[in-house]
Every structure is written in structure tokens, then in C-alpha cells.
């Protein structure tokens, strides 16, 4: 009898935990939405989404998200352009070219990179990369979009390498054998057979990399110069969506327009990353088939 009851209790705990995961996502969305709606009660949605000025403490305040959105896009595009070719090339090297012992060393190095806290990379950006770029490219300041892009590209590499490598390795062996049988070289097989077969997995890797870059906060807050203006180029100081929340949250008064505006920025981030992850998940499942 006692066994029965304790079993029932444990089973309900298990079910409850499953439910809890859904509840968390739902609550996160709900809280962001609730506080965003408080903003849109006082401030027009159109001006928030299409406003070209983010001036939270001027009179009257302006909460146009365009400069921040552009900041995020600049930094993200920069990072992805840098890290996708390198990441996919490294994944191809690890999956197909490297000898067995080297494979393990490279994979462990990638894991080490994945474990470096972002704040440490931000610190390196401040003390070394920023000043280095300023001198090398003759810029006004090293605290700019490019510094952020480079560091974020570095941070997104583990995601892109690991998932691309998985996709490359999981291409059926028979494809490769058939290509070899027809007299193709290893490179021809890799480039024309394995890479295209793994493409949906690689797209998933790129999407997850984008998600990681857009959501990264500390690095961009520390190295991109924190200028909430519409950036003219990636070589100028700018500010991302994430850095705006992190930087301004501590200075707002709870319940003020500014406070709610930051939650609205959070909601925008939530929706963007939700869509990116959804697409990545679909690609991933397609590649598993």
C-alpha cells in the first residue's frame, strides 16, 4: 500500500516537472508581454518599432528601437560572416580530414573555447583587441561594432563547429562509399556529396550560431562603445538590444515608461530568438531523418 502511494507521488512529480518546463516558457513570455503592454498603453507601438531615436531620459523620452535593432544586426551579420566559413571549414577538417588523435585534441579545444565565460572575452576585448584594432585600422576608438563582431564570432564557433561536425558525420557511410566506388577523390566526395547531404544540419548550426550571437550580452556591452545611435558602419560605436537592457535596467525606476520599454526590448529579443530556434529545430530534425 505504502509502495503504491509513494509511486503515485513520484509519478506526479515527474509529470509536474514536465509541465513546469512549459510553464516557465509561458511565464517568461507572459511577463515580457504584460510589461510591454504597459508601455504601449502610454507609448505608440509604431513609434517604438520604427522610431529612429532611443533617448530614454530626454524630455519627452523617445523609445525608438531602430538604432538598437540595427546595432544588433550589424554586430550579428559581422560575426556570422566571419565565423561561418571558418566554423564550417573546421568542422569539415575535424570530421573528414584530421587523423584520429588530432580529432580528439581539436574537439577538446573547441570545448575549452565553449567554456570560456563571455565576460572574460569582453575583458580581453577591452584590454587587447579594442586597442589593437584602433591602431591597426586607424580608428577613432577601438570600442566599436567590429570588435564586438570578432569576439562574438569567436564565441559562436563552438556551436557552429560542433553541430556542423555532427551533421557531417551522420551522413550515411554508403554515400561516401558509392562516391569512392565511382572514382571520386576524398575532396570531391566531401565537397559534392557529404557537404550537400549535411546542408540542413549546417543551416541549423548557422541558425543556432545567429541565436547565440544576437542574445549575447556581456561582450557587446563591454566592447561596442554603448552608443545608442544609428550606426553608419561597423567601425563605429553602437549598441545592441541586449546591451541596452543590461546597461539601463539598473538606472530605471520601477513602473516608469523607461522600465517598461526595456521589457518591450526583451520581448522583441524573445520573439527573434524564438523564431531562429524554431527554424533551427526544424532543420535539425530534417537532417536527422
Amino acid at each position: 500500500m505504502f509502495r503504491r502511494i509513494s509511486e503515485k507521488i513520484i509519478e506526479s512529480c515527474i509529470r509536474l516537472s514536465g509541465l513546469l518546463v512549459i510553464i516557465f516558457v509561458f511565464l517568461i513570455f507572459l511577463f515580457l508581454l504584460k510589461d510591454s503592454l504597459s508601455l504601449f498603453g502610454q507609448y505608440a507601438v509604431g513609434e517604438f518599432l520604427f522610431g529612429r531615436n532611443w533617448l530614454p531620459i530626454s524630455e519627452p523620452p523617445k523609445f525608438g528601437i531602430i538604432p538598437l535593432l540595427l546595432g544588433s544586426i550589424y554586430v550579428t551579420v559581422g560575426a556570422i560572416v566571419i565565423c561561418v566559413p571558418f566554423g564550417v571549414a573546421a568542422a569539415m577538417f575535424i570530421a573528414e580530414v584530421a587523423p584520429h588523435y588530432l580529432k580528439h585534441i581539436l574537439k577538446s579545444l573547441v570545448e575549452i573555447l565553449a567554456s570560456i565565460p563571455s565576460v572574460v572575452l569582453g575583458f580581453i576585448g577591452i584590454v587587447w583587441l579594442g586597442p589593437f584594432l584602433r591602431n591597426a585600422l586607424n580608428l577613432n576608438t577601438g570600442m566599436c561594432g567590429l570588435t564586438g563582431s570578432l569576439l562574438l564570432a569567436f564565441m559562436a564557433l563552438p556551436t557552429i563547429i560542433t553541430i556542423s561536425e555532427d551533421a557531417l558525420v551522420s551522413v550515411p557511410r554508403t554515400y561516401k562509399e558509392a562516391a569512392f566506388g565511382l572514382g571520386a577523390t576524398h575532396w570531391q566526395t566531401l565537397w559534392r556529396i557529404i557537404l550537400p547531404s549535411a546542408s540542413s544540419g549546417i543551416i541549423a548550426a548557422v541558425m543556432l550560431g545567429i541565436g547565440r550571437v544576437i542574445g549575447e550580452t556581456m561582450v557587446v556591452m563591454m566592447v561596442t562603445g554603448n552608443a545608442p545611435v544609428i550606426p553608419k558602419s561597423i567601425l563605429e560605436p553602437l549598441r545592441t538590444l541586449t546591451a541596452t537592457i543590461a546597461g539601463e535596467m539598473g538606472e530605471t525606476v520601477g513602473g516608469s515608461e523607461h522600465y517598461f520599454a526595456l521589457f518591450a526590448v526583451g520581448l522583441v529579443l524573445f520573439i527573434i530568438t524564438f523564431m531562429i530556434n524554431f527554424v533551427a529545430d526544424v532543420c535539425m530534425r530534417r537532417s536527422k531523418k
Binding site: I14, F86, F93, F123, T185, T217, M222, A246, F263, F278
Partner: protein, 282 residues
Amino acid sequence: MNAARIRQKIAFFVLAVATLLIVIPILLTIFYIVKNGISAVTWAFITQSPRNGMKEGGIFPAIVGTIVLVIGTMLFSLPVGVLSAIYLVEYAKDNFFTRLIKLSVVNLSGIPSIVYGLFGFTLFVLLMGFGTSILAGSLTLAIMSLPVIITATKEALESVPFSFREISFSLGATRWQTIRYCVLPYAIPGILTGTVLSLSRAAGETAPILFTVAAFYLPRLPRSVFDQVMALPYHLYVISTQVPNMPMELSFATGFVLIALVFIMNLVSIILRAHYRKKKLW
């Protein structure tokens, strides 16, 4: 044929160079922090409180704070994560509810850390009234760690052969008895590896603790779960951006300690994995 061979040589060389261009910065990053930080990492630095506006003394409260947060995170995320993975693998039928859980896990893993910070602030700090506290910070980090723990546990459970369950059922064991005695023991290594890995991430995170627990400067140890604490990643952020004329070697040393802590946790997870893989019987 010869042209194809040459093309292959060139292509593989390019791949190798690309890989090398990734490997070198990784090694340089580690080397740079270690070289500049190691001289300032003394016993006093690790065991003393910061003094003189953090420009002197050590980082003991920040180390303790980070360890406390990691333990708090584990207490919440391990049970919930493991139980929900058990639900997904052992109980769930392929229905709408199950798909919703899976979608939620995918979604949780993609939410930016700063959004977790906002969420933790509204739910735990304000709504539940915990204030900026260890409790609020740990809960926030715990929710962020859930997807990694769930995914790792799921993989570990799925790798236990189905025949184990069939035999247990055939002997008249209930579902929970089967899980408890015939599945979980063999999944433990995978679960531990995933957990340690996710905790090492939590230890290095800054954004989720910004508004939920982190103290700018608090040179004493926490007395209850409702206290604020300093934390290593936040401390590094503060001293490298907010404190003018900060002695460089102290910043480097803080970065060194943070990286060392995270690496040790990763090493533990790698050793666990290797150890149990050797003992695997099937």
C-alpha cells in the same frame, strides 16, 4: 586524375589553415590570461576580501558567492531537469503535450541570458518578494540551466538499452521501479556530465545575475539565502568597466581564477565521462 589530386591537396590545406586560425586564438586567449594573471594569484588574493574600492586585497567573497550560486542552481535545476527528462523518455506518449514540452526545451535553450535576467527580476525579485538575493539568482540560473540538463539526461536515458526495461517489466516491476533500479543507475554518468557542464556555464554567466543577486561591492560573506553576494563574472565586469585606475594585474588575476574554476568543473565532467565509459558493460 592528377589535377583532382592537386585540387584535393589545396582544399585540405585550406581547411587545415582555417582550423589553425581558430586553434591559435583559443590558445592565445588562455595563454594571455594565464601569463598576465598568474603572478597576482596569491593565497592572499584568493582568501581575502577586496579593500580600498576593490583596488587592493582579494576576491574571496566573489569566489564564495559564485560557489554558493552554483550549488543553489544545482539544487533547483537537477531535480526538475532530470524528472522532466524521465517524463519525456519513459512516460510521454507522442501527443500534443509532449511536443509542447520538447518545443519549450528548444525555446528555453535559445532565450538570451539577459531575458532570463529580466524574467528572474520580475518573478523572483519583485513578484515573489525574494529581493535581490541568492535565492532569486539561483532560481534564475537554474531555469537557464534546465535545457542542457534535460537534453543530457534524455540522451543518457535513451542510451540505456530497451531490453533492460523489458526484462524488468517481465519480472513484474512497476514503471517507477524499472526506472529507479534498471534505467537510472546506468544513466547516471551521462546525467552527471551534463549537469556539471551546465553548472560550469552558470558559474560564468553574468547577465542573468545582474539584477537578481549580484552585489557591486560586499566584502563579507552571505548569512542567509536572502542576502546579496558578489560573483566572479560580475566582479570582473565591474572592475574592468566601472572602476577607474584599476590595477590591471588584479583584473587579469580575477579572470584567471574564473577561467580556472570553470575549467576545473569541465575537467570533472570529462573525467566522469571517461571513467564511466570504461565501466560500461554493453
